[in-house]
Amino acid sequence: MPRKSTSVDMTAMCDVAFLLLSFFILATKPKPPEVIKVSTPSSVSTATLLREGKVIVTIGKDGKVFLTFDDQDKKEQVLKTMNTQYNLQITDADVAKSKSVEAFGTPMAQLHSFLNQPASAQKPELLAGIPTLDSTNNQLNQWFAVIHSVYQRDDMMVVKGDGMAKYPVFKSVIDAFKKNDLMKFNVITNQEGVEAGTALYKENESKKAQTAK
């Protein structure tokens, strides 16, 4: 038998690949950088977050607290205000360096030296987190006071907590919110389906029936 050619025409495969690629480029948005690995608990809530301008309080599974700002300008303003109010010796050069900082996770007194460290030392896994557990030294109070005055609104706070983090840390975050009049906040959760037969399920079904009419 004469040998047949084994080469496959790759044109069709190439078309499929570029079609898939176009789909992903057009239909997705870049993921916001994750500060540390956090596995959030699940809930039946379906509310989505507002896209821009959030302040994210991340609670790691060992109880470390980090602050991330979506808006770079506001981040610098917060830093500057913190500096003037609590005298942290942060220079303008430090504020410029803060642009590249992913998250804040050190006691206030160490902020100046933190900003001057090389990027490799600023990784959140290496940081100790903002001190919160001591009720007399819950530094989140100071942070949130400044955040509230800079942002002038109270609905941009987001808590991204690991499921295994213990309650006292969460309580100190909530207490800091309350003290600074930040009465609304969002907790990031994974989507969970509503079980059939529960009150919420019946409510959703009746809402669907009403909008379908």
Binding site: T28, K31, R51, Y167
Partner: protein, 181 residues
């Protein structure tokens, strides 16, 4: 006009007797192109997200020192849930009796039934659920309990600090290895 046949792959034999330069194949091998395509797809799959993360909205009540403003909770309508370690929930209805006789425990699966029983046996305006997580309760437990409030459409609930006698009772129960269910 002489026919110019410039098409055709490189496998075709030339016409007999015609001496021309050997035709170079015009077929392009697209395998590397496909590799590139899939590499880019993989990049986009891992660095982008299609949906915004879902969130649970929480509203905190304003603390008022004025006792008239504080919600009056009728004893008969109150169910207190204490969250302890290992996903255990201790609960009691009304006030905690001095001898702890109405102190019971359950796990999260039984929790929904307990809440539903309480809800069905209390008039709507008296029903209040008080949630008291202790220091060993995890964030996930707290979120799950708040979720149960939404799932079962409980209108009034509050999260407060756990009290000393309750902490003692939980400790005692954990030492003796479980309370009456």
């Amino acid at each position: 006009m002489a026919e110019m046949d410039t098409s055709g792959g490189g496998g075709h034999k030339k016409g007999p007797g015609v001496k021309k330069a050997k035709k170079i194949s015009t077929r392009v091998d697209l395998t590397p192109m496909v590799d590139l395509g899939f590499l880019l797809i993989t990049f986009f799959v891992f660095t982008t997200t299609m949906s915004k993360p879902t969130a649970m909205k929480l509203f905190l009540p304003k603390d008022t020192d004025n006792p008239e403003d504080q919600n009056k909770a009728k004893e008969t309508g109150a169910l207190t849930l204490m969250l302890a370690k290992d996903r255990t929930v201790y609960y009691y209805e009304g006030q905690l009796k001095d001898d702890g006789s109405n102190f019971k425990s359950a796990n999260f699966q039984g929790l929904r039934q307990i809440i539903l029983d309480k809800k069905n046996s209390t008039p709507a305006e008296d029903l209040v659920i008080v949630i008291k997580p202790d220091t060993e309760a995890t964030f996930k437990d707290v979120v799950d309990v708040l979720d149960e409030m939404t799932i079962n459409a409980i209108k009034r609930y509050a999260m407060v600090d756990i009290a000393e006698p309750e902490v003692m009772l939980i400790k005692k129960t954990e030492e003796t290895g479980g309370a009456p269910k």
